[in-house]
């Protein structure tokens, strides 16, 4: 899932201050799961922002609405009937969702209410860990399914570097495990260490411009015909 974290309230308020009635849009997908942009967070933000502005002597109204999936125009369209009465939007879905709302309502300002952090997993309740940088050229097959791009602080493809500390920790600090020590150990368990004895050649980076992908089955639909 996409993991996000609510921005500090003063930062959110700074953006919204010039505007009147604001709709806080949550998302029932990823940011609900990571407790940043679901119904409870939207409700709480409405209360907290109203209170914050009240303390500044400003009477502002906030309302909330949670779409099922903020990254899908079919769901964002639900906002059409609500939009007229609001001056601005605060999106607590991920950054992708915020931009889709902005495309839908180009005449209204949309503010991000969260910092979109990474693509990751639930470690435990309320504890998330990055697992994938969406590099577009998955390396997991030869690294024992441990991502060197995400987990190695230097994203190196022929690790480990010389900075590995005692007990297989990264040079960053004694808490961070060295991705390449973990890769070695896992491959050793699977008797596949030869995977990393071969040189990986320089990567053809795939994520250096905005990604666009049309599923093969839909090529015809989106290909312009003369």
């Amino acid at each position: 899932m996409i993991v996000a974290q609510i921005k500090p309230l003063p930062e959110i308020a700074e953006g919204l201050e010039p505007h009147g009635k604001t709709l806080i849009v949550g998302c029932g997908g990823c940011t609900s799961i990571c407790l940043a942009g679901g119904q409870p967070e939207v409700d709480q933000l409405c209360l907290e922002l109203e209170q914050l502005f009240k303390e500044k002597g400003l009477n502002k109204t906030f309302e909330g609405y949670v779409v099922e999936r903020g990254c899908d125009p079919d769901f964002i369209q639900e906002l059409d009937i609500l939009a007229a009465e609001f001056e601005a939007f605060l999106c607590v879905g991920c950054g992708a969702g915020a931009q889709l709302i902005a495309e839908q309502f180009p005449e209204k300002p949309v503010y991000p209410g969260v910092n979109t952090q990474f693509l990751g997993v639930n470690r435990e309740v309320g504890w998330y860990e990055e697992k994938c940088r969406s590099c577009g050229d998955c390396q997991l097959a030869y690294t024992g399914c441990i991502c060197p791009v995400t987990r190695c602080a230097k994203s190196i493809f022929n690790g480990p570097c010389g900075g590995t500390q005692r007990e297989g920790r990264c040079e960053l600090d004694a808490e961070t495990p060295c991705a390449w020590v973990d890769i070695f150990n896992r491959l050793k368990t699977q008797q596949r260490v030869e995977n990393i004895e071969r040189i990986r050649q320089p990567t053809a980076w795939q994520n250096q411009k905005q990604g666009q992908l049309v599923h093969e089955a839909y090529r015809d639909r989106y290909t312009k015909k003369d």
């Binding site: 602080a153 022929n158 590995t164 020590v181 320089p202």
Partner: protein
């Protein structure tokens, strides 16, 4: 010879070489570079010019290398993968070759969080092994990565890389060395050696893999200045293993005499390293202590350095 490097000539002639290290200043103080160069001249066969080590911004390695060269030292220009993408790296290598810099050392580079630009974005477009490969392609095929076009002029550089026998997974380290050799490393400079037993195990495996026949290995040594430095390095410097006995000798040294003990330990280590089969030299990293290098080289019976054109 593959290159005009004097270091290459010495190594190919079978000499036990001595390289040193010169850290560029935190500013454009050319006099500081000249001063360090004067201390090292005649006592080392080549000198590594560090590339923003510990991610602290300093005079560039390429500029410092040129100054060192003007002062009569042969530079080994270090280049880290942290700060440049493959465009900048290849361009700087070509530029360095144009300026007559004959050696390069390819490194990953310390993470930027340790330096004075902690909020910077690192690059790591290619890693150190891939950089070694790019260097070999530049030199032997005279081509850039991903391009079949011949360059306008040869890029003849002696290619170095680093190795750390003292970092986990110990078992894999000789194989990582093998990757560097296969990528095209002509010489290897190791992390500083304090633990001779671990080093010999690593070197022995390198010999078994035939690597000491395919590249020249220089063991890194660092003269310790004080008990405090020994303790700090033993406990806090990633990738360093220091036996308790060495820390104790340094801590027990009389006040103000730690440096004498440190130089003594360094020379003892060099003596032991000289006896190891498959080792081609030592790399003395006297960090901000260049003035001790002549003494170490003399005491370790490595002076005078061989004369060769």
């Amino acid at each position: 010879m593959k290159t005009p490097s004097r270091l290459e000539k010495l190594l190919e002639a079978g000499h036990f070489v001595v390289t040193g290290e010169l850290g560029p200043p935190k500013g454009n103080n050319v006099a500081a570079v000249k001063k360090k160069a004067a201390l090292l001249r005649g006592y080392v066969d080549a000198v590594n010019i560090t590339d923003n080590q510990t991610a602290v911004v300093r005079m560039s390695s390429i500029a410092t290398a040129v100054v060192a060269q003007q002062q009569g030292l042969e530079p080994v220009m270090q280049m880290v993968c942290r700060d440049r993408n493959r465009i900048a790296m290849q361009s700087d290598i070509i530029g360095a070759a144009a300026l007559g810099i004959p050696n390069v050392l390819c490194l990953s580079g310390d993470h930027q969080q340790f330096g004075n630009q902690a909020h910077s974005k690192n690059v790591f477009d290619i890693d150190s092994i891939q950089l070694v490969g790019a260097m070999r392609r530049l030199r032997d095929e005279n081509k850039l990565l991903d391009s079949d076009e011949k360059l306008d002029g040869p890029v003849k550089m002696f290619i170095g890389a680093a190795a750390n026998p003292f970092a986990e997974p110990f078992e894999f380290r000789p194989y990582r060395l093998k990757k560097k050799v296969e990528a095209g490393a002509d010489f290897i400079q190791t992390q500083c050696v304090f633990d001779l037993e671990i080093f010999e195990q690593w070197l022995s495996k390198a010999r078994d893999l035939g690597l000491t026949e395919r590249c020249h290995i220089l063991a890194g040594v660092i003269p310790l200045k004080s008990g405090r430095m020994a303790k700090y390095m033993a406990e806090h410097v990633p990738g360093v293993i220091m036996p308790e006995a060495i820390v104790k000798r340094m801590v027990d040294a009389p006040k103000g005499k730690g440096g004498i003990e440190g130089v003594k330990i360094c020379c003892e280590l060099i003596d032991a390293l000289k006896e190891m089969k498959g080792l081609s030299g030592v790399h003395i990293m006297a960090i901000e202590w260049e003035k001790k290098v002549p003494k170490i080289v003399e005491k370790a019976n490595l002076f005078p350095r061989p004369a060769i054109d």
